[in-house]
């Protein structure tokens, strides 16, 4: 089985207060460490586990600048056989543009695959669009929020999707298909530094993204960045126990965890 996994290099912004610079034009990511998008590491891990069991190979593709080689090396260190970079210095904001680029690349280079994995979304833009849009462009069946791949059959897969409130949906999808993988589907293996060093010995092919972007244009335009309305520390609920409890229950209702 040949599994293609799209992986993205993102800034690790968990604890940071991000700084908007150039009058809203840009976000200062210069001091941030970068890593593989969380969702994508689950996707790669799942793909590797499948080929470890059922035979085949995994290829990792990344759309980004040269530094994205990091995530390709990590994918290879985890067990992917090859890595491809669709090189583009400036990030592509519109996920639709990325999907169309991927489509052109796959068609143009006659890329073989049985299944394509993506992560449900990226930690930075959280669009969650790439996988589904690409599936429609390729005319392939699609499922997102996949938390378990139950069965691999001849020409189909049975997968589980995670819905709200702990409910799980079981569906059958014919292959080839695209699946967007949800976190928690597995536990991505540890990749040691020496492992990553070894992965550097495997060639990661670089393609110029612009060659596959002729005539493509964005559907959305980013005008500027701003900060969301400020939240002050913990909003203290009224001191009176009764009132505090009632307020608490309201918050729980609003969050959808309690009816």
């Amino acid at each position: 089985m040949k599994i293609l996994v799209f992986v993205k290099r993102v800034a690790a912004a968990q604890e940071e207060e991000l700084k908007i610079i150039k009058d809203g034009e840009d976000i200062d990511l210069s001091k941030l460490p970068f890593k593989m998008n969380d969702w994508d590491s689950y996707a790669i891990e799942e793909a590797i586990r499948i080929v470890e069991k059922a035979g085949g190979q995994v290829a990792a593709i990344s759309i980004g600048d040269r530094e994205s080689d990091d995530v390709l090396r990590r994918s290879i260190a985890m067990g992917a056989k090859e890595g491809f970079l669709l090189n583009r210095d400036k990030p592509i904001i519109d996920p639709v543009l990325r999907a169309k680029l991927a489509f052109n690349f796959i068609k143009g280079e006659n890329v073989n695959f049985d299944v394509i994995f993506t992560g449900v979304q990226a930690e930075d833009d959280q669009f969650g669009v790439f996988g589904g849009y690409l599936a429609a462009l390729l005319g392939l069946p699609y499922a997102s929020m996949v938390v378990r791949i139950e069965d691999l059959g001849e020409g189909y897969m049975v997968v589980r999707r995670e819905l709200e409130g702990g409910l799980i949906e079981r569906i059958k999808v014919s292959t080839p298909c695209i699946l967007s993988i949800q976190t928690g589907i597995n536990e991505p293996r540890y990749v040691s530094i020496m492992g990553i060093r070894k992965a550097s010995q495997v060639e990661r092919k670089v393609y110029e993204a612009s060659l596959y972007m002729e005539g493509l244009f964005s559907g959305i335009e980013l005008l500027k960045w701003s900060y969301p309305p400020k939240k002050e520390g913990a909003k203290l609920l009224p001191g009176d126990m009764d009132a505090a409890c009632k307020e608490l229950l309201n918050i729980l209702r609003e969050k959808g965890v309690y009816q």
Binding site: K31, P33, R189, Y190, S192, I193, M194, G195
Partner: protein, 364 residues
């Protein structure tokens, strides 16, 4: 195993001194002597036992045949790391250290937040003429309880006119526990990055706030052309020479706990005691196991970042109980790992755990 390791392992005469001195033996499945034996015979071992080791180093210090059993443990851990056979919490600690240069994955950009939070005027080492570097442990940098220690030392040094600087956001984990966890590659990355920074800024002297950092840089970073001190050495010198004056009394019964990485592994026993003894009103008492025999607090060897399987009475609890029996009011420490592991237990007995710098701040 490399040739050196094989040679060491086969030097073992199975005297059992290692297991006899191990703080984990008898209470956890870890049996160092048997581990070495099984390595000699090429028999399999139970990998889970390896993770009880706190890297206190006592076995290696006591071994009459230079087997260095603790190093054997780290090597085998290394094999497990390479094959990914490590617990999730160890994995996370390593991944976090790779990404943010501290095992909790806290933002590197916030490494020196203790400076601004305390309203201090501590400069980056590049802006200071005397290339004396104050080096904080990851614990000092990110734990609210321990961040008071670099603040204290900064104030003390500042008050005495001792010039120093910090690396700020460029400060990274020293890698002491990382190497002991078996991630050799990551240790080398940290070593490289830190050494490069020390060189870049022309560091002549490092005052390490944690004995672990002092140990790694002075003994495991290869040859370095600067001096590395633990802060207690520096402060004792300043007190001895009259630079640091102790003005007030500290009327408490204080018991001092020797950290493994300061005491038994690096031979610094007297300086912390001298500091305490120079404070009037302070009654200094000793644990039954002190100096070279100090009971490991079980914070080292990566134990701070993961939980071991068995439930057994922790050394920290035993230590606190003894302090209580000896009617100590304060347990004095000089290592952030000791501070955290002991304080967790001491809180229930009503005993305070204080870093030496905290005691000093109350009397100068």
């Amino acid at each position: 195993m490399g040739p050196l390791e094989i040679k060491r392992v086969f030097s073992c005469i199975q005297c059992g001194k290692c297991t006899g001195s191990c703080p984990e033996s008898g209470r956890t499945p870890l049996n160092v002597r048997i581990l070495v034996r099984r390595s000699q015979l090429g028999h399999g071992i139970d990998n889970s036992h390896l993770w009880y080791c706190t890297s206190c180093g006592t076995c290696t210090l006591r071994c009459p045949r230079d087997v260095k059993p603790s190093e054997l443990i780290f090597s085998i851990r290394g094999l497990l790391v390479e094959s990914g056979e490590i617990s999730l919490s160890v994995q996370k600690a390593l991944e976090n250290t790779f990404l943010q240069k501290n095992p909790w994955g806290r933002a590197r950009t916030k490494r020196a937040e203790w400076v601004s939070k305390a309203g201090l005027d501590v400069k980056h080492i590049k802006e200071v003429s005397e290339k004396r570097l104050l080096l904080s442990c990851c614990v000092h940098a990110y734990d609210p309880r321990c961040s008071v220690i670099p603040v204290n030392i900064s104030r003390i040094l500042g008050r005495c006119g001792v010039e120093f600087g910090i690396l700020g956001e460029e400060e990274a984990c020293c890698g002491n526990e990382i190497r002991r966890l078996g991630e050799r590659g990551l240790f080398e990355e940290l070593q490289e990055e830190n050494t490069s920074n020390f060189r870049k800024y022309g560091i002549r002297e490092i005052i390490a706030l944690s004995p672990h950092c002092m140990n790694a840089i002075s003994k495991e970073y290869g040859s370095v052309d600067f001096k590395v001190y633990h802060y207690t050495e520096v402060l004792w010198m300043m007190i001895k020479e009259g630079q640091l004056r102790i003005e007030k009394e500290y009327k408490k019964r204080v018991i001092y706990h020797d950290p493994c990485f300061l005491g038994k592994q690096n031979g610094i026993f007297e300086e912390p005691r001298n500091i305490l003894k120079s404070i009037s009103g302070l009654e200094l008492i000793e644990f039954s196991r002190s100096r070279e025999n100090s009971l490991c607090c079980e914070g080292g060897g990566g134990r701070m970042f993961y939980e071991v399987g068995t439930n057994y009475e922790r050394n920290a609890k035993i230590r606190v109980n003894e302090a209580f029996e000896r009617k100590a009011e304060v347990i004095a420490v000089s290592c952030p790992f000791c501070l955290m592991t002991l304080e967790e237990q001491a809180v229930e007995k009503g005993i305070e755990v204080k870093d030496i710098s905290e005691i000093l701040m109350e009397v100068i």
